[in-house]
């Protein structure tokens, strides 16, 4: 639902605060994370994500200064490969462990 909500809202909500090019790139990276975290993914879609994320990061490179890009800004390019090989992110991230710590179940 949230995904549809965002996609319908974005064409309407043409940037007021940020220039369009910048806002587009931020939108793309945010959609990338949203898509990569979904619990059900098509292999075609993953391959599309793999191609697009490189372009998105190139767009960010054109906008932000060099010091913006530490290793964490680079690693998303490898995420679609991991999803294709290992399955959805929910089974391979550290949230469950963090929650165990937070609730004091340890």
């Amino acid at each position: 639902m949230c995904h549809v909500f965002m996609q319908t809202l974005i064409p309407l909500a043409f940037c007021d605060l940020l220039p369009k090019g910048i806002w587009d790139a931020l939108m793309e990276i945010s959609h990338f994370f949203k898509d990569i975290c979904s619990s059900k993914l098509n292999v075609d879609h993953i391959e599309r994500l793999e191609k697009n994320i490189v372009k998105t990061i190139c767009k960010l490179e054109m906008i932000f200064p060099p010091s913006f890009f530490d290793s964490m800004e680079h690693l998303p390019v490898h995420l679609p490969f991991e999803v294709k090989v290992g399955g959805p992110v929910q089974y391979r991230w550290i949230y469950p462990l963090e929650r165990l710590d937070i609730t004091g179940a340890m």
Partner: protein
Amino acid sequence: MAYKKLRYFPITPRLQRLFMSSRTAEQMTWHQSYHAVDGVVVHPSDGEAWKHFNSVHPHFSAESRNVHLGLCTDGFNPFGSFAASYSCWPVILTVYNLPPGMCMRSEFMFLSMVIPGPSSPGRNIDVCLRPLIDELTQLWSSGALTYDISRKQNFVMRAALMWTINDFPAYGMVSGWSTHGKLACPYCMENNKAFTLTNRGKAYFFYYHRYLLPPNHRYRKNKNDFFVGRVEKDVAPPRLSGEELFDVVSEYGDIMFGLQSGKQKFPDFGLTHNWVKRSIFWELSYWKTNLLRHNLDVMHMENNVFENIFNTVMDVKGKTKHNIKSRLDVVLFCNCKNMELVCDGSRVAKPRASFVLEKNAQLLVYKWLKSLRFPDGHASNISRLVNTEECKLYGMKSHVPCVYANTHPISFL
């Protein structure tokens, strides 16, 4: 007196117990009984790694009750985040045979060991993992005789470790490929194009990604917006397989673990490779046949990317990536006039970059955040974290930015 005490809880009896309860015994073969839709990934068993593993090890896949495991480890402070620093490392095993609804539930996540602090074990984590690796080796080679209540019979249960789950610093400790410095990326390895910025002593992955683009992409020929005057001709290198990596890391030999070993490093460390050790996981005979051995943690990545974007766009003092040092670097590498420092006689001006919001726009965003309400269970109450008077966002806990990274473009409308 022992220097440290490692608490180890054997995994075999707990795996056996899963087959003793009729509720869980049936579910342990779920991955075989469910019919996957072609080309759709909903469970690790749909992934290429699982299928490849089963085809390479037919004797293992022939018995669907054999257990696929994942290993999760991270450091935390048991005395709370405000207490004296103490880093304790629980190691947790997860069972991937179970259906999605049960898979990552806390009941089926087994605490295997607690590595004591006070500091992080670093690469010496291998010493602590020894009992677990021995048990896993035994579970792979000879297995354990187990009673399965759903079929009312005994069988020999085997288990295989699929991958490890860590945050990025722990990735380096576990995998043996250090995640610091220029060669931090464990996929790009030595083909890395990161470079050190003149005014900061750290490696940055800037003007880096064009070589991953298709050969004729227009960005490759762009001489203005990327590295000034440079055309990208390199192509993406292939990812190395487990066997190839094992051969490479084996050449470096073993290192001595322990407190006295000091900072023993392989020759050319940081120049042609980032290997710090041959990880103990290579001792598992099937480890090199795994397609995915260590996972990049999406949670920390999202968190970090979000913080960088937010702090830079909102120009958060002390945290923004667009500071004076950055402006000095921009002159050297880029062609962006509004990001540089401008000298006007005796005064030095800092023009506002196009990606930084003006003060009143920032206030609008904070006010908007303050008024946000999310559906129950979707996110914590973000409005509590916002101080509109000081224009600050507090307590960005790891589970908050996840929702945030997915929704924040709305805030820049």
